[in-house]
Symmetry: C2
Subunit: 348 residues, 2 copies
């Protein structure tokens, strides 16, 4: 758009005000000088109400997934709401077995939020999208009054192409299947909590936020028989496994000592009275695969930088109650229930 | 999901709490007993992280559009944030000339918000989606602490199929083209304002919120040469026309007395010192069409219940400055600029 402006956005000292969301001249300026500048791509640059995009190839189906991001604080060790909102939605598309193609982004900003911080978030988001090869093709921005929001909320929607014949779903797990995870559990949630509670550790706990579609492509190439993929975000591994058990109508038995957890994460959890199995991850996979292909799948995960700590952690069993159980270090078994309260609010 | 719950959601007296967004047992209950119940469709019912969907037909492209909805108040004469969030995004897809197919919905709820009101919103949203024939196929819900949100925010993303060879864009307007609107201007914005300011009028001002894809299909059938479609939401007709003028590098001359505005809307605007040309609409179209097809287009609009007040309001002219001008009732001309401030915050 070519409307005339006297001054460019003050990206150093300026703040979000209500006019940035009112749809007029100032909104257009914010879009042009911040969003369009960083997200630049032909579909977005057209400047219309929607993006026009090539459809997937013949025989392919679409996958659509959406995530609201309200993480607090907005910046944390290893990431920020910007890259998180790209990774989270790409992962939701990718765990369906689809190739992520496009993202949309919807911003709800609070009046008074510093434009400099907003710019850092948008830059991080654009970098994550570029690195993942998944452009942000359309968006929207609204502004709410001070005290009616909390800095920045970002909802992203992802669109992907699902190859013909591929069916990954939480309802595909079968007794005898192996359960794998792609790495250590609880890093993202504890990075947020440590920041929020100002916990100091010898070495910082860093979020694992990452886009998993590359890892998944490598995994499915080596083990096309994979039945379920899921990213264990809110509610952690325990809740994700319970969801799968419920959807498939099967039970699970896990080996506690096989589940990888970083030492500092374990220590921080102990300090805060949390169980790492309920703490969110943002760059990890749960994989259910027929036992005979478990080792091939594990090797494929470990061959990728995002899967170097991958482990086989248990197996699917017959159980009409869909219980998830864990064999502890002491030889006993205990139930692993769904997350039952709010344990960690605003973790993503 | 089959997890056991002792009690169903209390949809009469219950309130949103942080556990509804934490991703565990209570989140699953909210999804099952509220969202999945009302939005029921095969893609959503699968209960996975993303929806698997048939792709559009051969030769068709995709259109993707997104809108954040932060309207205040959440309920207003003629609608609520629920149906608005369906209509708004369907319209953004439809004005690109695409057939809307699917919606995603992302909710950001404030702790303490009454579940009964949330249920009314979800019911309204589901009804709007059903009436439009565009299902909500995937979604997400987050909860923020009291005082960090404002009841309910909803971001929706729409996906549509664009027939081969069709190109509607804000950059297609050409000198000599006619400019039409599908009905009266300012109804939605003034319905919100009247509610917010507790204005009383003899007859209530009602939002025009509506899904326009049926009207648009009928219009494009009768006048396939239409060059630009846009829904004049935030910033109103004035801002939408300025956007088109900028994108196409053309000027516009409007006839003030040809622009339809309801008497009560005009009176309310006068009372509040607003100009109806800058007030948001949520069920109206701006159409740019070659002059020789303007009458056919107008007749097609008028033949549809949502277009009965359609009017021809001006024409595209050559103008390197991309100015929008209006011929007033007194024979003079004045400039119609972009909306320059926040005139009406949180109107959609």
């Amino acid at each position: 758009m070519q409307a005339n402006y006297t001054r460019p956005l003050d990206l150093k000292r300026g703040r979000v005000d209500l006019s940035h969301g009112a749809g007029g001249r100032v909104s257009a300026q914010l879009v042009r000088e911040l969003f369009a500048r960083h997200f630049a791509n032909p579909a977005l640059d057209a400047g219309d109400d929607g993006a026009v995009l090539p459809a997937p190839g013949p025989g392919e189906r679409l996958v659509m997934a959406t995530d609201a991001h309200v993480v607090s604080p907005l910046f944390f060790p290893g990431g920020d709401i910007g890259c998180l909102s790209v990774h989270g939605t790409i992962n939701d598309v990718a765990v369906m077995g689809a190739r992520p193609l496009y993202l949309s982004a919807s911003f709800i900003l609070e009046e008074g939020y510093p434009l400099a911080d907003l710019a850092r978030i948008v830059e991080s988001m654009a970098r994550a999208a570029r690195e993942a090869g998944v452009p942000v093709v359309t968006g929207d921005t609204k502004v709410v009054e001070q005290g009616k929001g909390d800095g920045v909320f970002i909802s992203t929607t992802g669109l992907g192409a699902l190859p013909a014949g591929r069916t990954l779903s939480g309802n595909q797990a079968r007794p005898g299947d192996a359960i794998l995870v792609s790495g250590t559990m609880g890093d993202h949630g504890m990075a947020i909590m440590a920041q929020r509670e100002s916990l100091a550790f010898d070495s910082e706990i860093v979020s694992d936020t990452a886009a998993l579609h590359g890892l998944i492509a490598q995994l499915l190439e080596a083990a096309p028989s994979v039945r379920v993929l899921r990213d264990p975000t809110r509610g952690g591994l325990a809740t994700t496994l319970n969801e799968i058990a419920s959807q498939s109508g099967v039970g699970m038995v896990l080996e506690e000592k096989a589940i990888p957890v970083r030492e500092q994460v374990d220590a921080a959890c102990e300090l805060l009275g949390l169980d790492p199995l309920y703490v969110a991850n943002e760059g990890k996979l749960v994989v259910v695969v027929p036992a005979e292909h478990a080792e091939a799948a594990l090797a494929a995960l470990r061959a990728h930088p995002l899967g170097s700590d991958a482990a086989r952690i248990g197996e699917i069993v017959e159980d009409a109650n869909a219980f998830v159980q864990i064999r502890t270090g002491f030889g006993g078994k205990r139930m692993v229930d769904w997350l039952s309260g709010e344990q960690l609010p605003r973790i993503c």
